[in-house]
Amino acid sequence: MREPVSGKQRGATRTRVQRGVISILWALAGVALVVFMWEAVKFVGSFIDLPLNTSDTSMPHVWTMVDAFSNPVVRGSDTTVLQAVVSATLTSLKIALGGFAIGVTFGIILAVIMQRFAFFERGLLPFVIASQTVPLIALAPLIVGLGNRISLGPIEWTTTYSVMFIAAYLAFFPLSVGALRGLQAPSATSLELMRSYAARPNQMLWKLRFPSSVPYLVPALKVSAAAAVVGTVVAEISTGVKGGVGRLLIEYARETTSQPAKVYVAVFGAIALGLAAAALVSALDLYLTRNLPKESQA
């Protein structure tokens, strides 16, 4: 997944700051384009019949959505919708990160076992793949149901843990598959070199296999993070766990009849959640690849 050198050289002449500013401007331009298209569709729809309903109740104006942020959550409350969305997003982010961490740990352990013992790879991989074909909405109530009967000594199993478990369940898969490929990536010559040094399997793992798996791991981490976020939101919706973005989505969605803009506020929260997770993985990417040969622009 490392980009080829060509086509990047132009950027190399710019400073880091310049490149940063330019990429932010591009991102803002993208947002502006979406806003413009939304409003354009609404505008056109007010003159001619489009196949979709463009009335204010179905497609509220962007400024109505932004305005909805400053309303109090319920009348007389000191908390604004913005605060509610921010706190819900943070709650969901915590759950997603917990799920992500568990999923990544489990995924890597699984990959190491599968790499080390071909027997396990043949035996486990089909199950790993099959695990992802179970529809999440079927799984969620099941896990909550099981969770209700789990007792872990002093720790009480709450539905929040069930949601985290579901996030982890979705996150481990891309990671274990990606890590497995990465661990198997070292060339025969590298492996033979290690063997000629009489390296033990553990040494080969730490000194050769892990470092060479990084290029495979990074994209896998990105997919895993996205899966953890999706898993969290879906599981929150499915199980109705309080506090997160998923719950907020339903709560606001059912007020659509009288306040059509409100549900979009929760959608923005879900977007922020995705962005935060992606930013985190990008940071992880920078850290993991710090020792890899940088491409031209380094």
């Binding site: 990429s23 009348r75 990105k222 879906v234 919706i237 109705g240 339903i250 007020e255 962005l275």
Partner: protein
């Protein structure tokens, strides 16, 4: 490299958005069942003000029995009685420590109960009977709602004042087992839901009706109908008025089915400790419902304090409408009327949905419901000087504000 990373972020964010939108859409279709129902949060706060009398009554109570109740949906006034019983200390009076488990889109309370995830569950009778037929060993121990809260709402100018007027119209329905009263009503009017009208899957909100995409929409008295009356009529700039709409109330057409009831585990009811606990739970819960009848505003506030995000006027409206479904209870609160039970079973057995499937294939056995607990509870509550039938019950007149605020 940076630009590339950004495009990836954008893609992930885009995907997240799409997923979020899709989810909000699917939740809209699958949760309609539960729209009716609401759920609660597991609030740990127990009644703060325990009076001296309560303490005296709990004299022989050395340790509260932990009990869990699974709701169909989030905390809202639909479950007012249970929250009131918890908040006002009625459960504690009965030596119970009740944890109220809120529901969600995919939480099926009777299944949670049957699997042992909760000690009691709130569920609509037809749905619970369907689960029961499929093996969930559960028993209705208190029929809290005495009437159905399901309406078919249409524009007044569409002239739909009886089910027969639905002929030739575009009729919205929620599906997922929420459409049987509508179908039974259509059937009783001598019409076919497929040949004589167009049946449309309806979203959980009422936009389709307000945009006149459909002629009649399903609504619960305590929720969706209020949402319509909280929306601004763009033509007048004022809120929509009840006079703008016609309402078909299935209680008036003999096809209503029993809704919220307290279900207990049938297997565990053979155990005397669980019997005793069930009796105490039913008594305290029904006392909560009596409290909400007489203190609707306070109950609405209790619900809000327990984390409901609904607006104040919507919450009070819901509490008041739910009170109308519970009260009056001529045979005593929580007592199942065999005639209405039979009507529920008849509609559930004889009405086929658009896929040709009935809710249940035959009448349930006698253990599907029992009045033993509700009757004993009513006797005890009456001895406390409480009115258990709610004769002379007068609902409030609630004014809805824009957006339910």
């Amino acid at each position: 490299m940076r630009a590339k990373a950004h495009s990836r972020i954008a893609k992930i964010a885009g995907a997240a958005t799409v997923v979020a939108l899709a989810l909000s859409a699917c939740s809209s279709s699958s949760d309609t069942t539960e729209t009716a129902a609401d759920a609660t949060a597991t609030t740990e706060e127990s009644a703060a003000e325990e009076t001296a009398t309560d303490a005296a009554e709990t004299g022989e109570c050395t340790e509260l029995t932990p009990v869990s109740l699974q709701l169909q949906w989030f905390v809202q006034a639909q479950f007012g009685g249970y929250y009131a019983a918890k908040d006002k200390g009625f459960y504690e009076e009965q030596c119970l420590d009740v944890t109220i488990l809120e529901g969600g889109v995919d939480i099926v309370p009777q299944t949670v109960l049957a699997q042992g995830g909760a000690d009691y569950a709130i569920a609509w009778v037809p749905k619970a009977l369907s689960s029961r037929e499929q093996g969930a060993m559960i028993t209705n121990v208190a029929q809290v709602y005495q009437r159905s809260g399901t309406l078919q709402v249409s524009w007044a100018d569409s002239g739909i004042s009886t089910p027969a007027d639905l002929a030739g119209k575009k009729v919205g329905n929620w599906g997922f087992g929420n459409e049987y009263e509508l179908l039974a009503g259509i059937d009783a009017a001598g019409l076919s839901p497929t040949a004589d009208m167009e049946m449309v899957q309806q979203q959980f909100d009422m936009q389709a009706l307000l945009n006149r995409e459909i002629d009649a929409a399903q609504a619960m008295t305590y929720n969706e109908y209020a949402q319509v009356l909280e929306a601004v009529n763009p033509d007048t700039g004022e809120l929509y008025q009840p006079a703008d709409f016609n309402v078909l109330n299935w209680n008036d057409f003999g096809v209503a089915m029993y809704q919220d009831a307290i279900w207990a585990s049938q297997e565990r009811l053979s155990d005397s400790a669980y019997q005793d606990q069930t009796q105490r739970f039913v008594t305290a819960s029904l006392k909560g419902w009596i409290y909400c009848r007489d203190n609707a505003q306070e109950c609405a506030d209790i619900i809000t304090a327990n984390g409901s995000m609904l607006g104040a006027s919507h919450q009070l409206w819901m509490m008041n409408e739910v009170n109308k479904l519970v009260w009056p209870s001529p045979a005593g609160v929580g007592v199942t009327d065999p005639a209405l039970w039979d009507q529920t079973v008849a509609v559930a057995t004889n009405t086929k949905n658009l896929e040709g499937v009935a809710i249940i294939s035959g009448a349930p056995d006698a253990e599907a419901y029992t009045n033993q607990y509700a009757e004993a509870a009513d006797a005890a509550l009456e001895a406390e000087g409480l009115n258990v039938t709610g004769d002379g019950f007068a609902p409030l007149t609630v004014t809805l504000n824009e957006g339910g605020n």
